[in-house]
Assembly symmetry: C2
Homo-oligomer: 407 residues x 2
Amino acid sequence: MNRSPLAPATFPELPVITGVELRIARAQYKTWDRCDLTFVTLAPGTAVAGVLTQSKCPSPEVEWCRRALVLGQARALVVNAGNSNAFTGSRGRDAVEAIAARTAGHLGCQPSDVFVASTGVIGVPLPIDKAEAGLDAAFAADPCGWEDATNTIGTTDTFPKAATTSAMIGDTRVTLVGIIKGSGMIAPDMATMLGFIFTDAAVGAEFLQAALRTANASTFSCITVDSDTSTSDTVLGFATGAAGNAPIGDEDDAGADAFVAALTDLCRQLAQLVVRDGEGATKFIEIAVSGAESDRSAHVVAMSIANSPLVKTAIAGGDANWGRVVMAVGKAGEPADRDTLSIRFGSIQVAQGGMVVEGYDEAPVAAHLQGQDVEIGVDLGLGEGRATVWTCDLTHGYISINADYRS
Amino acid sequence: MNRSPLAPATFPELPVITGVELRIARAQYKTWDRCDLTFVTLAPGTAVAGVLTQSKCPSPEVEWCRRALVLGQARALVVNAGNSNAFTGSRGRDAVEAIAARTAGHLGCQPSDVFVASTGVIGVPLPIDKAEAGLDAAFAADPCGWEDATNTIGTTDTFPKAATTSAMIGDTRVTLVGIIKGSGMIAPDMATMLGFIFTDAAVGAEFLQAALRTANASTFSCITVDSDTSTSDTVLGFATGAAGNAPIGDEDDAGADAFVAALTDLCRQLAQLVVRDGEGATKFIEIAVSGAESDRSAHVVAMSIANSPLVKTAIAGGDANWGRVVMAVGKAGEPADRDTLSIRFGSIQVAQGGMVVEGYDEAPVAAHLQGQDVEIGVDLGLGEGRATVWTCDLTHGYISINADYRS
């Protein structure tokens, strides 16, 4: 697979997070010449939070994490690439339990301290023997760096995706690093979105969970490649506490706002990297809706535009076809009034008050659409609600990847 | 544009509907060598009913029809092809009013007896001078047949789409003919779905409206090409009464059930023809969902599958990728239990009770997917709710048509 034209030039410099150790191994879930098992050990006392797919047909890994999150503590993360283990009945559940038990045996912790995520083909039970052998090999291996771990969690990703940020909590600087994989919300049956965030901040599990939910609402929940939601989407956050800041237990504690802002910044970077690796993507599209009756309503309208095949193909073609934006607003089902609707591409107003602007000149809009970064602004003219979402264009590349995937 | 590979071999033989006269003319809404204005006169006393787009940004034609339908009577239908007149502010409203007034002048009827529908590019006001000259030319022209009228309402359609059926009301046979255009629910900005149904049955307008709503729910509302809903979708039904049957005023009258059944049959034929002309379509897909908690819930799940780009591209590639069906069920948001879920392709069961069937053999499924007609069956195993919907595959043809349309 060619590297996405929207990929950053290089993998970022990422700091060590004290209390986090990365290792990789070859479980050979598929016949391929690469590592496909990532094993992360976390210092005792690490707090954990997570947001998981809302699919009604989730993988057993998702169900496992959902239960384990209740306890709020983590000692290990295991990520399998090449097999999602989704829709595999009791054999899938057995595999997850076996991985947790084997890991707990190695580390001398409880199975419920072990978090598991898998990505790959749906419907094939994860082979327990390969998982156990892979875990044993990883446990015996030397620690590795972020780039190796990021490559190992990937599947159809065309580049490794990671980001970092930091925040001051009182006088203490805390550091956050996130790694993520995914080429679509789901893309082929090989592209679940899995994201893992590590920080040395001392934060309580309950606060971490609230912070991750808040960050998620304006970041991961605001991206779409193809409107298809995975059975396995998982974002987990781990906080080792090694930075030694005054622990944050709730939102009123000093540094709480700074931490949430840093976490949100990191999640936005990671989310946008997933869009930049969207299957077949040649353009990165930001859609900003304002003037809606509520923020929720603005989000629905923005996602209706972001998921419209006609809008996405128009942008792929560099076509300033704003009529398709009108269509997508109209079909969203949210309050909208044609006669107060305004639309811009980049900074160029194209429609206002329910019709095209006087003396509309398509040339500057067409020039904006020639770039890799496209911005669509819609003002509904009804209220104060706003939302911003990110997507990519829909191209022949998407069809080629998905129509020819297993055949 | 090449004729769709899913098109019927020939245009059907269609009977005359007494009380309906068809004429066509060249309004030259675009620079093209074809008729683009269709003018239908209806005998005095003709009842009318309609279902219109639920878009929040409807065209002025849709708003006009919605108001005129309240009166329940029609003397004329005018259809413009090449310009949808949508999102054109007060100038668009002026154009519709001018068309109704000019037609009323020709026929000596009320403007509210005139129904107007337009399809084509969004955002360009329909030129009133061209519309009026076209109407005058049509009024002076000789009547034409169904095929000419069907071709004239079309835009990016690759074949003219029409169907007929009949029903016995008491001892009287009544006849129904429908014509339709559209290559997507909306396809490019040139493919609104417009459907027109004509019958010689004597039925009251209120009953006709109820019958059309009933028929619509299981036919036009059950098709999707690309999930994008037009600003202009319109289906109108006209009943001239010329058959002389005992008039049907409500659902308890003799023949009411037979009429609704015939109308539903006709609507289903027309709806399926639109899917068969779906942009870039190479396969016709029927999706039947059973075992849902309600019919409504089954419909939502079926449409989630039908709109999934990953399901549609898998079928385009002849790929028996049932994991994508699981994904689409899971993301629908309706009650579903992975462990009671069953999936079949054609008559071949692939998954049952939350996992792949014992000894699953992909070969017969792959063979089914090689055909032009593909059937996906999903049983949720929860209740008695069922729904069937129709769609087409998603191919390079769709991208070519829509990414390169105006550029």
